[in-house]
């Protein structure tokens, strides 16, 4: 059963149109990956889903509810949280405060709490009193993921969580994904690192120039298919 759905999603920045009728769906407990080159519209899609960008109400539904026009602070309590691109930790808050603030919009208790986050990323427990921005890039990314999990989301949006990180660090961070999946959350992972995305995703959408150009399971898609959908050549 479809849980989170977009139907004919369009988005604009002033006169510039960034999305042209995007249809995606996410089933309960599923992980989907959204891949595409820079400027394909992936981040715009994430911003629309999370409510940072407002759209028409019917363009996005969560559990049958029209959320397209809601603001981010209204959407979080419905069970959707985002790890924003660039991590965006709060510099005035310590690591632990950054995690705690993630629970601000939480309405019900769930699987995740401070202790579980520290078990997921033990290094954060050691650095709990440091300012969030004093950490390394990979550790900051862990805080950003933990912060989003603290609201016990039913859907977690991860926007470019590997961006700017060393391969060994990316591996550490992706090691946490199965544990997040086990907690029952559905995931939407936006990635430029196709390999990582394919490993964790049940299904993949490929975007180009504001449109979905390819959709399928990682096993069903060939390298050439993806290459064509990604760069728009040879198709």
């Amino acid at each position: 059963m479809s849980f989170l759905t977009t139907r004919g999603l369009t988005a604009h920045y002033g006169d510039f149109q960034a999305l042209f009728g995007v249809d995606i769906m996410l089933n309960e407990g599923e992980t989907i990956a959204i891949i595409g080159a820079n400027g394909a519209g992936k981040t715009t899609l994430m911003r629309s889903l999370s409510g940072v960008l407002r759209n028409s109400p019917e363009m996005i539904t969560l559990d049958g509810r029209k959320i397209g026009a809601m603001s981010a602070d209204e959407i979080v309590p419905l069970g959707l949280a985002m790890v924003p691109e660039g991590r965006r930790l709060f510099p005035s808050l310590s690591v632990e405060e950054n995690l705690l603030i993630g629970a601000y919009g939480r309405k019900i208790e769930g699987y995740w709490n401070l202790e579980k986050i520290y078990r997921l990323f033990p290094i954060l427990a050691e650095r709990r009193s440091s300012p969030g921005t004093a950490l390394s890039g990979g550790q900051q990314q862990m805080v950003a993921i933990g912060r989003a999990l603290m609201s016990n989301p039913r859907v977690l949006l991860c926007d470019e969580i590997s961006l700017g990180l060393a391969p060994v660090v990316i591996r550490d961070i992706y090691a946490a994904v199965p544990r997040i999946q086990e907690s029952g959350a559905s995931l939407i992972v936006v990635e430029q690192d196709i390999g990582q995305a394919m490993k964790v995703a049940d299904r993949v959408y490929c975007m180009m120039e504001g449109r979905v150009t390819l959709e399928g399971t990682p096993q069903s898609l060939s390298r050439d298919d993806i290459h064509a959908a990604y760069f728009g050549v040879g198709a």
Binding site: S50, D73, V76, R88, I101, G105
Partner: protein, 287 residues
């Protein structure tokens, strides 16, 4: 001996200025907004206390306790329905709207209460003093200073020890990301201004008990508050207290030399600090 007395008076006067400034400092720290009507709200709160005192025959302290929730609500509504609409990258709208508010408020008060000077009835407390051996210290100035310290400790606790304080700091850092945490920035700003209005009420209580007030004195209170905030360094509440003390000291010392120099001496102290420490005495590390 007269100099010790002058200095103690100056420090205690600084407590009053820190009370004027704490609300301004709080609001600026969270939303980078300077409310040019801040001084006029202090005067308005003083009239509100006076009204409750005269109508209900209450003591000023009880009247201030009743005025506080009214001012809290005023601040909340003001921020939520007026000032939030002016926030953005352009500094003109908030400045001009609060300037218009200042003019409107002053003249509404003038219409409602006339230009006559008023004072809150204080009874014995206004003349009571403590004999500290070398000098006599007034109880009221001492209470003012004590209240300023309590307010600053309280605001610091709120800021660094509570969930609301975390939300204040997070929203101040990055309102968009804060909204991804389920925080509604507009509501956070409204709460901040509402809390600032509680401090304004306390400042008004002491202002009204210690000196005469009339509808025109708001802008000067804004200026003292502003000077205290800048001298202390933006965003530092203890710095604001230090700034208030410096202005209070300068004014008292100036007045001791020549009564006409009181206000001017405060301004000169401010300019000197601006000259040697443009970012204030206790600037925030990151800004």
């Amino acid at each position: 001996m007269i100099w010790v007395d002058t200095i103690v008076q100056g420090v205690l006067l600084g407590g009053l200025y820190a009370l004027f400034a704490a609300g301004l400092s709080l609001v600026f720290g969270i939303m980078r907004l300077v409310n040019l009507a801040h001084g006029d709200f202090i005067v308005m709160a003083a009239y509100l206390i006076l009204l409750l005192v005269t109508l209900l025959g209450l003591s000023p302290f009880v009247a201030a306790a009743l005025a506080a929730p009214i001012m809290y609500l005023t601040g909340w509504l003001l921020q939520k329905h007026l000032l939030n609409r002016t926030l953005g990258t352009d500094i003109l709208p908030p400045l001009l709207v609060t300037f218009g508010l200042s003019i409107a408020l002053q003249n509404a008060l003038l219409e409602g209460f006339s230009a006559d000077s008023q004072r809150l009835p204080t009874g014995a407390i206004s003349t009571a003093s403590l004999d500290l051996g070398v000098i006599n210290v007034g109880v009221l100035p001492l209470m003012t200073f004590g209240s300023a310290i309590v307010v600053i400790v309280g605001l610091n606790q709120l800021f660094y020890r509570t969930e609301l304080g975390r939300a204040f700091r997070a929203t101040s850092d990055d309102p968009t990301t804060a909204s991804l945490m389920g925080i509604r920035p507009g509501d956070i700003f409204a709460k901040a201004t509402a809390i600032a209005m509680l401090v304004v009420t306390l400042a008004a209580l002491y202002l009204g008990m210690r000196s005469n007030f009339d509808p025109s004195i708001g802008p000067a209170r804004l200026i003292y508050a502003f000077q205290a905030v800048i001298i202390g360094g933006l965003g530092s509440l203890w710095g604001t207290l230090a700034g208030g003390v410096i202005i209070g000291l300068a004014q008292t010392i100036g007045a001791a030399i020549n009564p006409e120099w009181q206000i001017l001496a405060g301004h000169v102290a401010f300019l000197v600090v601006l000259l040697v420490r443009p970012r204030g005495l206790f600037p925030r590390a990151v800004d």
